[in-house]
Structure formats: C-alpha cells, structure tokens
Symmetry: C2
Subunit: 595 residues, 2 copies
Amino acid sequence: MTYVAPVKDMLFVMNELAGLADIVAYPSYEQAGADLDLAPAVLEEAAKFNQDVLAPLNWIGDQNPSSWKDGVVTTTPGFKEAFEQFAAAGWQGVIHPTEFGGQGLPKLISTACLEMMNSANLSFALCPLLTDGAIEALLTAASPGLKDQFIPNMVAGKWTGTMNLTEPQAGSDLSLVRTRAVAQADGTYKISGTKIYITYGDHDMAENIVHLVLARTPDAPEGIKGISLFVVPKFVVNTDGSLGERNDVQCVSIEHKLGIKASPTAVLQFGDHGGAIGYLVGEENHGLEYMFVMMNAARFAVGMQGIAVAERAYQKAVQYAKDRVQSRDLAGSPGPVAIIHQPDVKRMLMTMRSYIEGSRALAYYAAAAYDAQHASPNKVSAKENQELYEFLVPIVKGFSTEMSIDVASLGVQVHGGMGFIEETGAAQYYRDARILTIYEGTTAIQANDLIGRKTVRDGGAVAKGIAQKILQTEKDLAASGSADAKAVLKQLSPAREAFETSVTYIVTHAKTDIKAVYAGSFAYLRLCGLLFSAWQMARALLAAERLLAGDPSFFDAKIATARFFAENQLPQVQALATSILEGGHSTNALAVEQF
Amino acid sequence: MTYVAPVKDMLFVMNELAGLADIVAYPSYEQAGADLDLAPAVLEEAAKFNQDVLAPLNWIGDQNPSSWKDGVVTTTPGFKEAFEQFAAAGWQGVIHPTEFGGQGLPKLISTACLEMMNSANLSFALCPLLTDGAIEALLTAASPGLKDQFIPNMVAGKWTGTMNLTEPQAGSDLSLVRTRAVAQADGTYKISGTKIYITYGDHDMAENIVHLVLARTPDAPEGIKGISLFVVPKFVVNTDGSLGERNDVQCVSIEHKLGIKASPTAVLQFGDHGGAIGYLVGEENHGLEYMFVMMNAARFAVGMQGIAVAERAYQKAVQYAKDRVQSRDLAGSPGPVAIIHQPDVKRMLMTMRSYIEGSRALAYYAAAAYDAQHASPNKVSAKENQELYEFLVPIVKGFSTEMSIDVASLGVQVHGGMGFIEETGAAQYYRDARILTIYEGTTAIQANDLIGRKTVRDGGAVAKGIAQKILQTEKDLAASGSADAKAVLKQLSPAREAFETSVTYIVTHAKTDIKAVYAGSFAYLRLCGLLFSAWQMARALLAAERLLAGDPSFFDAKIATARFFAENQLPQVQALATSILEGGHSTNALAVEQF
C-alpha cells in the first residue's frame, strides 16, 4: 500500500477541533441526512477508493504523462477508467446541492475526501477540483437555464469543468485579459482568443468539457471592470441535452512540466474558425467577481493539495526510515539500527508530521467556518464565520503549499541518495508540490490579499478577533497545568503577541508606507500560518489530554507533536515579526539597476 | 549570455574579507608567482571560459543526459570537446602543486574558479571536482611511485578521478563496506565488489579514469578500522606510462536522476572476471583517513556548488523579473511595470542575493583559512587557521547547500507559472540543487561532525574563538555609527549571544543528554551558517562604507544587502537557539511505532 488515509487523525480533527457535531446539526445538513455516524462512513469509503484505485496510478502518471497529438489529449493509461469509477461512486457530488444530484454534505466532510484524493493522486485530483470550482461559479451566477443545462452532468462526473483566466500577456494580472466575446442575435456570444495554463483543458476522461472563460465584450470598460464570464462547452449542448457539434475551441499544445505530469496543462485557442459559442454567466462585466467564487473554492482546495502531497511524502519517508538499517544508535547499540532511531531523522519526520497535522487542523477548522457561514441559522454567527473563513483562505492556500515544498524536500532528504533516484518516487512529490505555490494565485497574491482585503480593510478586526480566541486557548493551557501544556503556552503567548503587534503595524502603516508593509506580506502570511497551526495543535493537545485513556499511543503522539511544533517551529514567529516591523525598507532599498 | 560571473563581488570578498594580500605574500604562493594582480587576471580568464564554453552546455546536458549502452557511457554532446578545452587551458591544475604540473595557486583563488565552473555547469564541474579530491588523497598518502604514475596526468586533465565509497548496503555508514582486496605476490591487489553512486564512474571525456576505492583485505579488522584505499585505474598503466589492458571494472548501469542529469552516476562492478588490479594507497586499514582528505576537499567544493547554482538561479530570476511587465506598481503607476517593482518580488530577489553573498563571503573566508593553514610561515597562525577551517567546512557544505535548494525554489517562484515549465530552465536548478545536501555527506552528517568533532571535542574553544571575532566586528559596527551599521549591530549582538549560549549548552549536555543535543544538530549548523554569513556581511558593510566613493552603486547595494540579511534572515537564529536549548526532547518523544 503506497498510501494509507489518516482517517483517525482526520476524524479527531473534525470532531475535537472543527466542531463536526454542531455542523451536522445545522438544518440543511441534517435534511441531507448528515449525522455523527456519517463522517466515519464516508471517510472509510473514500479511503478505500483512493488507496485502491487512485494511489497506484500516481507514479504511473508521472512516468506516462498525458500526451498531445493533432489537437487531442490522451491521459495516462488507467485514468479514464478510474474517472468512470470516481463518477459512478458519486464522489464528484459530495459537496454539491441535492437538487442537482449532489449529496449536499458539509465542506468539512468533503475536505477530508479532497485531502485523500490529492494524497492518492495530485494529477488526477486536479480534474474534479476544477470541476468543483466551475460548479460553484455556475451555482452562484448562472441563469436557471444554464444551471439545468450544465450542472447536473458536472455533478454526476459525466462532464468536467475548467477555469480559463490566464493569457500569454496576462498572468496574475487579469486586467490585461484580451479574449473577445461578441454578442449574437440569438443571445449567445462568439468567443475568440488564446488561453494558457488550462488544467485539463483537453482530455479523454469525460464526454464533454465545460470551459468557464474570462473575456471582454467590444464595448466593455478597460481593466478588470470590463471582464465577463462565459460558459464555452467543448461540444455544444442541444436543447434536448444531447451533445451537438464540436465547438470552435482547440487544444493547440500541452506543456512539458516539472511535475503533475499526468494532468494536461493546455493552451486553448478559441474562435479560429469563426468564433466559439459561449453563454454569458450572470451579467456582463461582472465576470471577475463570479470567477472569485471559483477561485476561492479552488484556493482552499489547492491548500489541501499541499497538505495532501505532504502527507504522502511523509508516509513514504516514515516507511523508508523504518526499513533502512544503517549505522549504530547514537546512544550505542550493538549493531546497526533503522535510521528512524537517528535524532536528525526524527527531527525531519517530526517536522514533516507536525506541519501536516497543524495545517490539516487549520484547514479543517476553516472548512467548518465555511459550513457555519452557509448553514448556520444564526445570522450573526454566519457572518462571523464568513469573515473568519475569508481571512483563513489565503493562509490555508499560501502556508500549506509553501510548507508542502519543504516537507516534500525533507522527504527526499530522509531517503538520502535513494531520494535523488527517480525510481524511488520521493522526488515526484518534490516536483509535484512545486506548482502549488504558483497556481490559483501565487503566494505573493495570497499574501497581498491577506494584508489588503483581509487585514487592512477592516482595521485588523478579524485578525484581532482570532488573537482573542488564541488567548482563550492560552488560558485553557494554563488551566491544564501539565508540563506539555506549559511548554506550549511558553511559546504560544509571545507568538500571539507578535501577531498582534504585526497587525497593528500593518494597519497603521499600510497607507503611509505601503511598499514597506507589503514587503512583509509573505512574512505576515507565514507568521499567521505558523501561529494558527500551533494554536490548533495546542487545542489538539488539550483534547488529547482529555481523551488520553481511550487511545494512549495516538493521543500521546498528538501531545508530543503539538509540543514539538511549539518548541521547534513556532519560535520562527518572532523572526518573521522582526522582518515585518523592521525589514521592509531594506527589502526595497535596491534600485532595479542594482540587481 | 545565460551566466555572467560575479567577478566584482568575488574580488571584493577576496580582497576585503578574506585577506588576499596576506595570502599571496606567503612564500610558497609568492614563489608560484602569485601577487595581487594575479587574481583579477585568473578570474577574468575563468569567467570567459565558463561563460562561453560551459554555461551554454548546461541546459543541453539536462535535455541530453549521459547515456549508458553495453557498459559504455556516452556523455552529453559537447562535453568531451569542452573537457579538452578545459584541460588544455590548465584549469584542472589551478590549485595543485607545480611539481606535478599544476599552478600551485591559493585555494582562495581556485575557489572563485570553482564557483564559476559550477554556476556555468554543475554536471560538468563534478568531473574535475572529483578529480581534485582524488589528487588530494594521492598527494597525502600515495607512495612516490604511485604519485608519479597518476598525478601528472590527472593534473593535466588527461585522466579523471572518482571516489568509490558507497555500496548498496552501506550508504553513509562506511563500516559496512564489503568490497574485497586480496594481496597478490607482485604487490598489487585483486579488487572485487559493487560500488554505487559513483559520479563520472564511466565516461568518454578522458583517456583513463582513476578510481579510488575503499575495500577490505581478508584479515582486516571489522568496521571502519579495517578499510583500505586503493587506486584502480580503468585502464592499467604500463611501466612506461602508456595505457595497458582494460582493468576488470565495469559500469553496469547509470542512474535515472532528478537532476544533474548530464553527470553519469554509475554502478561499478569490480572483479567479475578474476579481480580488478588495484594499488594500495598508503598503509592498509588507514583508508578512511585518506578518504577523509578527499572528502574534506569535496565537501568544501560541494558547498561551493550550492553557492554556484544559487547564483545562477538568482541571475535568471533577476533577468525575468526585469523583463516581465505585468500589474501596476503598488504605490500607483499609470500602466503595468516590470514585476521587479513588486515588493514581494524584491523580497524574493533580496533573499536569494543576500544568502548567496553571505555564504560566498563565508566560504571564501574559509578558503583563506585553508591557505593560511598550509602556507603561513607562522606555526601558531597555521594551527589556528586549520582549526578554523575545519570548523567551517561542515557549515560551508551544509548551510550553503541547504540554502541553495531554497534559493533555487525562489527562482522558480519568481517566474510564476513559467517557472514550472521545463523549457524555461528555472526548474533545472531546483532539480539539480536537490542532490547537494545529500552527496559527500548529508546535512545530518555535516551537523553531527560540527557538534561532535568540531564543537564538543575541544569544549567549544574554536566556536567561542569565532564568537570573539564577531564581537570585534560588533565593536567596529558601533564605531561606524551609521544607521545601517547600527541596524545590523542590533541583530548581530543577540544572535552572537544565542550562538554562545547554544555552544555552552551543547558542550555541557553532549555526554549526559546525547540524543537531545544531536536532535538540535541541524538547528546548530543552520544557526552557525546564518550568524557567520551575517557576520561576513557586516564586515562587508564596513568595508563598503570605507570604499563607498569609489563605486557608489556597488557599495550601496552591498550595504543594503547586508542590512536586509541582518533584519530579514538573521533573526531566525533565536528560533534555532530555542530549538537547540528546548526542543530536543520533543523531537525524540515518539516511539518508532507511533510514526
């Protein structure tokens, strides 16, 4: 078995840290049949599917990437059949509304499924991930007719979705989008232009592909306020729902990439033969706000990809460290021992493990906030949870993906020379993870979002609210009084204070010293990620102390991991705060020509 | 031009930080013709060769790796011709004794050449790098006859050298070496066994390959005290110096690797047809100590590889950041600007730049200590410099290579989506750099060496001596009184104190709490690397303030880079000290079965 889903930890986090009991009791989820028995049942099923079907295809996909010939993409052998199984079992519909054929489950539960699928096979998982985002955008903004025409088949896994944002001249800066959309007499639009980096922009796993495309109408205003969103299916859909003619969109090439090689990254050419037929989603010139719905879903999901690939890398490293016998124990052993007994190997594995558990706890906590936002009958709570979730999304995305690169790199290191040999498989995670800090908004974009829209705009209110929650955990740690709780508290309090100081600095200086503040945006995002992960681990420690007798080995390990993270990773927060408070000007000091 | 050698920075470091004037005045170097005009002349020549000949072959090598067929390795097209040019120009002999045909130049000067070659082409440079190590081992321990037979042709670049340590069951743990050496009546030995991960173990770039092989004689003691070192040439050398018959050593395969693909990594089979002819180097059972001579040379060189690949990645990222126009300036600009104007891009470039400049300064400083050790007529100074050099080698190796992975990863990030596309070339550095923390002793091995042999053994004497030197720089910063000097001092003093506290803790607890101390070995190595780099950058700042008027743009940038490093990287030292002092027990807390 190359991957074993960490179901026990997932359920622990869901139950003890993310409040699953409250969530399944919300009326809308209760109506969909959710209860406390549901999560373990769903997770066990998901574990089976992902371990047995998708995980074995991961290395095969790396060795047999998707290929392009004459405009047609052929995916890795086995992917098409796996996608059929995936669709037949209903996995695409987990989170989507029952009225369109989904299961309407909480995001908290679907997040665990998402993690498993991405641990099992990052390249494969990208296809459903993008489809999820496309469904969300259509649910938000499409007309009832468009919804009925497209969503049920997407939820069923018959059709897949894509996001078409980037163009050769417009990477992160969507104001530069040039793709044209010209209204036709019949209410449709003719779309023409070039889109690049389109994940699963063409493939052979589903009957149809539903492209969501950003484009400009001829009379649209300049910049991001003139962008509209269109549905452009690969095959036109007839009024009876059957597939009609091939639309005027061609996959002209796919990229040769460092990693996630099984997932085709397409260049799509729209309208070379008269214009692709597109359908306006929502209103003209509001495309970007609809796309943000999709992007927010996708950003959270990419954060989960980071946690997922890190978990897979960790499992592989643990296995190797247990199997590889070499060198004597430092404290003296008669013969050679497994390398997991070496302190530096433990240091690497504990670093990997604690980052994964901390970011998992934080991401699931965020997913629970999303559920409360959407399903809580209490309007005040819903609003608070929305703000909390929106604050956490750039952190889940940015922090979890940055850490995944470090964790995958440690995974290679644990393997020594073997790690550098491709056949070993550890290097694949190192290559695959490298895209995660780039797509769906680079870490810089997440960090800018966190500072600008999420911290400065409300004067730091949400941020300081989180600090208050952390303070409550500090009180709980003090009340516990155990040596472990005290050790964690010793690091958590000054870290929380450094966060508050940073927030105050950012809010105060964002207008007057904008470049220095934004020079610290990455440090601020990382500070938040470290602190909030450590906070969740502190909460986990308290829960583990309470539950210890039920499963001493598991809960002991949880306590030790929380303490390790607090003592060995959390202290970086002070350095990051120094960087935020004092390092901004030296970051910007060089003129362009001095580089 | 894909690489421009940073000659100006190299000469600045050599002259102002590493004391080149003192070194060229040592009698042995003066006799070899060294003076202050020599370094610029050599560096300019080296820059030309590496920029024009080796740099263009780097990407070609990645796309056309060395290949193996029927026991024969064919290198990347162009490598053989480039190696002929390399040999003809005398580059292999820069550091080696004039009596064997070398130029006998200081290590300080050859280090700059080494950096350039590795920036230009990491895969290519490995061949001369290993040859250098083999020459050093032979110089140290071989009989005069063996020296005369092998060294001149190696120095001339006619023959190359390899290190044969690793076996399938013996990676870092050489006590497990099983290769056999049986003495023959004629004084030679018959060698048989399997060696893996042999860099340039076979190739077509030179007439002969001189394998240095660790093996055991039948009656040798167990463990590392029973290992002997042998020369096993690919072609036996006749008494007249001509090449004789093919020796019984076969390259049975080469590895499919994550990076450095142009350099063949061979599995060598010795003695399948009766035994390969080998010549004992030095005395039986002393092989490991001779090999350490070779490894120390190679470890320093691999540290330089880290700096070199980081520099190349940095140059590429700077170029892209200047060329790529997208998004408006944060402070508001009419239209889109080059992304180098974005604060987070500056943050990434400054991080890359400051790590490179800091570790370059530290490595060159170490190289100067090596020169003083070997050439200073003052015995006390020679001894002090030997201790200093030996303390710094694991840091140069471990810290520079770990940072190279981070820097190469930032290089990908600066490119955004383009960075993940192989054709861009940024990903090659990310893949290539990944081996550097593994071969020639993993970072854990460097860190163990730094704690055990270099810190604990002398009760922290050398470490605390370095702290005193740093204290002197603090006084100089205070005397300067500039705002930049004060800002650096503010960070440097507490960092130096944290270092001293860590040294005291390590020395005090190494016996009583060995596993906790060694759990902090990586943190200690990184702490030393950060502090010493920042210290060298502080010295650079002071020199730059003195020299400012001569080249304001260059020296201004140096001052700003030193300050950036002090404010944005050096503060991590405190977190690392916490990890060393408090984090050891939680690192070791989990039992093997809890992972």
